[in-house]
C-alpha cells in the first residue's frame, strides 16, 4: 500500500476506527459464546472476523486481511454454517447451554486474564507506544517471497496438513466410502 505522507491526507480517525473495530470484535466474541442458537453465534463470529480484517488493514497487513476474508469469512464460516444446518436440532436450543463446570471455566478464564494483566503491566515498556512506520510500499510481494523462500518447508508442511485434513474430513463425513 502506498503510504501517503502528504499533509492533510493522513488516514482518517485511526483511533476511532481502532476502538470501533475492537469493540465490534469483542462484542461479537461475547455473542459467540453466549448465543443460544448456533447460527447466531456463527453470524456474530463472521462479523467479528470481518472487523478483525479491518484491524489487519489498519496494521498494514492487507494480504492477511484478504486471506482472512476469503478463507475465514468466505470459507471456514460457510463450512460452519453448512454443518450447523445439517445438525440443527430444535431440541438443543431448549437445553441448558452451559455445562456443569461453567464455574470452573469462568474461574480459569479469570485467572488467565489476571495473568495477562500481570504480564502486560510488567512488560509494558517492552511494547513501544507507537506503531512502526510502514516497512515498505507493498508487503504482499514480501510475504510471497518469504512464503516461497524462507518458509518453503513450512509451506509444504501446511499443504500436507490440508491434504490430510481433506482426507480425514471425507472419511469422517462420507457415509459410504
Amino acid at each position: 500500500m502506498q503510504q501517503i505522507v502528504q499533509p492533510g491526507m493522513q488516514p482518517v480517525a485511526t483511533t476511532f476506527f481502532f476502538y470501533f473495530l475492537s469493540g465490534l470484535i469483542l462484542l461479537s466474541g461475547v455473542f459467540v459464546i453466549t448465543c443460544k442458537n448456533a447460527v447466531h453465534s456463527a453470524l456474530a463470529l463472521i462479523f467479528g472476523l470481518l472487523a478483525q480484517a479491518g484491524l489487519y488493514l489498519m496494521l498494514y497487513a492487507p494480504f492477511v486481511a484478504g486471506v482472512q476474508i476469503i478463507l475465514y469469512a468466505g470459507g471456514i464460516m460457510v463450512l460452519f454454517l453448512f454443518v450447523i444446518m445439517l445438525v440443527n436440532l430444535e431440541r438443543s436450543r431448549r437445553e441448558n447451554q452451559f455445562n456443569k463446570q461453567w464455574l470452573v471455566g469462568l474461574l480459569a478464564a479469570v485467572a488467565l486474564g489476571a495473568l495477562f494483566v500481570a504480564v502486560y503491566a510488567k512488560g509494558k515498556n517492552l511494547f513501544p507506544y507507537r506503531i512502526a512506520q510502514p516497512i515498505e510500499t507493498s508487503n504482499t510481494q514480501e510475504i510471497g517471497v518469504m512464503l516461497y523462500g524462507k518458509y518453503m518447508f513450512a509451506f509444504e508442511i501446511a499443504s500436507l496438513l490440508l491434504l490430510v485434513a481433506i482426507i480425514g474430513a471425507v472419511v469422517m463425513a462420507k457415509k459410504r466410502i
Binding site: M172, A173, K174, K175, R176
Partner: protein, 418 residues
C-alpha cells in the same frame, strides 16, 4: 388410491386399477408402528429398518407438490431423501378427481362424449376417438371410411400437438426455457386447424359415435398440407436446440432407466414402453380407424432412459406427419356418419377397446345393461398407469432427476385423476 371407485353395485367390478404393489408394502399398514403424522403416507417407503451404522445420515421427507411448478398439475409426490438421493417416492393423486367415470353412469352414451375430452385435455381428440370407437364396437356399427380418414388426420395432428406440449414442458423442467415457446408457436397452427374444423381448440369434441359431426371445411386439406410443410423444419429446430446439447445429454442419458421387463410388468405403454425397446404400438398391433391403410414406422429406443423417450417422441412426431401426408391425399368421398339410432341402446354386454393415444394405451371398458346409459365405464388412462413407473425409475436418482422423469412420463393430471 382414492380415484373413482364406484360403490357397491350388484355386479362385481371387473377391472381394478392395476396398482403395482411392492410385496413389502402390503402388510405395512398392519404393522403401523408409525405414529407421527408426517410418516402416515410413507407406509410403503419404509425400506426396512435402516442399518444404523456409525456413519448414517437421517432421512428427509419432502413433499413435492401438489402446488409445484414441475409436477405438471396437482400431482403430489412424497419424496424420501437421503441428502439429494431419492430413497423412495409415493404419488398422492386425486387432487383433480372429478368422478368422470361415475358421471358416465348417469349420462347417455351421446351425452358422455364431451366429458372424455376433459380427461387428457392436451390430447382431447384421441380421447374422443377411443370413446367413440368403443361405443361403436358395442353398438356393432362402423364409421364410414371418410370419417375414419378425418379421424386419423385429426388424431395424428393431436398427437403432434400433445408431443409438442410435452417437449416444451419437459425442456422447461430441465431448465431450457426456449423450446417451450417454439413448441407453443407451432402447436398454435394445429389448434387453428381444430378451431376451423369444429370451433374448439382444446376440448374439441370432434367426433361423434358413428362418425364425425362436421364435414371438413373449405380448404381443410390445403391447411393440413400447409402445416405438413411447415412442421418438419420446426421439429428440426427443436432437435437442434436439444438433441446434441451437452447439458441436455447429461441430464437425460441414463436417467430414469426402466428395463424392458419392468416396463412390461408395470403395464407401461406408449413412448415410455417403446423407448425401453418393446415394439408395441396399437396402431400396428391391432389397427383401428384407418391405420391399417398407412405405412409408418414405430420408433423404438434401446436403453429406456429419458433420452430415448425423447428421441422416440421426436421420431413419432415425424411419423405422425408421414401418416397425415398419406391420409390427406386420399380422403375418400362419401358420408361422414354411419346410420346410428337416435336413441342408443346397446345390447347387454361389455366391451374393451383401446387406442394408441399420444401417451400410451387409452382403453375404454364399457359395461352395458341394455339401457340408454352405460352401466359402468372404466377408463384405462395411459398417464395413470405410466405414473406407476415413477418409483422404479427414480430410486437412487437425485431430486433433479425426479423432475426430469415426471416430465418424460408425460402425464396429464386430468387423466390420472379423472
Amino acid at each position: 388410491m382414492g380415484a373413482g371407485q364406484p360403490g357397491d353395485r350388484e355386479r362385481p367390478i371387473i377391472m381394478t386399477d392395476r396398482i403395482m404393489v411392492d410385496p413389502k408394502t402390503t402388510d405395512a399398514k398392519t404393522s403401523d408402528a408409525k405414529t407421527a403424522d408426517s410418516t402416515r403416507f410413507l407406509s410403503h417407503l419404509e425400506l426396512g429398518e435402516p442399518d444404523k451404522t456409525f456413519l448414517d445420515t437421517n432421512e428427509l421427507v419432502i413433499n413435492m407438490g401438489p402446488q409445484h411448478p414441475a409436477t405438471h398439475g396437482v400431482l403430489r409426490v412424497i419424496l424420501k431423501l437421503d441428502g439429494e438421493q431419492v430413497l423412495g417416492t409415493e404419488c398422492v393423486i386425486g387432487y383433480l378427481h372429478r368422478g368422470v367415470e361415475k358421471i358416465a353412469e348417469n349420462r347417455t352414451y351421446t351425452m358422455f362424449n364431451p366429458y372424455v375430452d376433459r380427461m387428457d385435455y392436451v390430447a382431447a381428440v384421441s380421447n374422443g376417438l377411443g370413446y367413440c370407437e368403443a361405443v361403436e364396437k358395442l353398438l356393432n356399427i362402423e364409421a364410414p371410411p371418410r370419417a375414419k380418414y378425418i379421424r386419423v388426420i385429426l388424431t395424428e395432428l393431436n398427437r403432434l400437438a400433445s408431443h409438442q406440449l410435452w417437449l416444451g414442458t419437459h425442456a422447461l423442467d430441465i431448465g431450457a426455457m426456449t423450446p417451450l415457446f417454439y413448441t407453443f408457436r407451432d402447436r398454435e397452427e394445429i389448434l387453428k386447424i381444430f378451431e376451423k374444423y369444429c370451433g374448439a381448440r382444446l376440448t374439441t369434441h370432434a367426433f361423434r359415435i358413428g362418425g364425425c359431426q362436421y364435414e371438413t371445411y373449405e380448404g381443410f386439406e390445403q391447411d393440413v398440407i400447409k402445416f405438413l410443410d411447415f412442421a418438419p423444419p420446426k421439429i428440426d429446430e427443436y432437435e437442434e436446440l436439444l438433441t446434441t446439447n451437452r447439458i441436455w445429454l447429461e441430464r437425460t442419458k441414463n436417467v430414469g432407466v426402466i428395463s424392458k421387463a419392468d416396463a412390461i410388468a408395470l403395464g407401461v405403454t406408449g413412448p415410455v414402453l417403446r423407448a425401453s425397446g418393446v415394439k408395441w404400438d396399437l396402431r400396428k398391433a391391432q389397427p383401428y380407424a384407418a391405420y391399417s391403410d398407412f405405412d409408418f414406422e414405430i420408433p423404438i429406443g434401446a436403453n429406456g432412459d429419458t433420452y430415448d423417450r425423447y428421441t422416440v417422441r421426436m421420431e413419432e412426431m415425424r411419423q405422425s406427419l408421414r401418416i397425415i401426408r398419406q391420409a390427406v391425399g386420399r380422403i375418400p368421398e362419401g358420408p361422414i356418419m354411419a346410420k346410428v339410432p337416435k336413441v342408443m341402446k346397446p345390447p347387454v354386454g361389455e366391451i374393451y377397446h383401446s387406442i394408441e393415444a399420444p401417451k400410451g394405451e387409452l382403453g375404454y371398458f364399457i359395461v352395458s345393461d341394455g339401457s340408454t346409459q352405460p352401466y359402468r365405464i372404466r377408463v384405462r388412462p395411459p398417464s395413470f398407469v405410466n405414473l406407476q413407473a415413477l418409483d422404479i425409475m427414480v430410486r437412487g436418482a437425485l431430486v433433479a432427476d425426479v423432475i426430469a422423469v415426471i416430465g418424460t412420463l408425460d402425464i396429464v393430471l386430468g387423466e390420472v385423476d379423472r
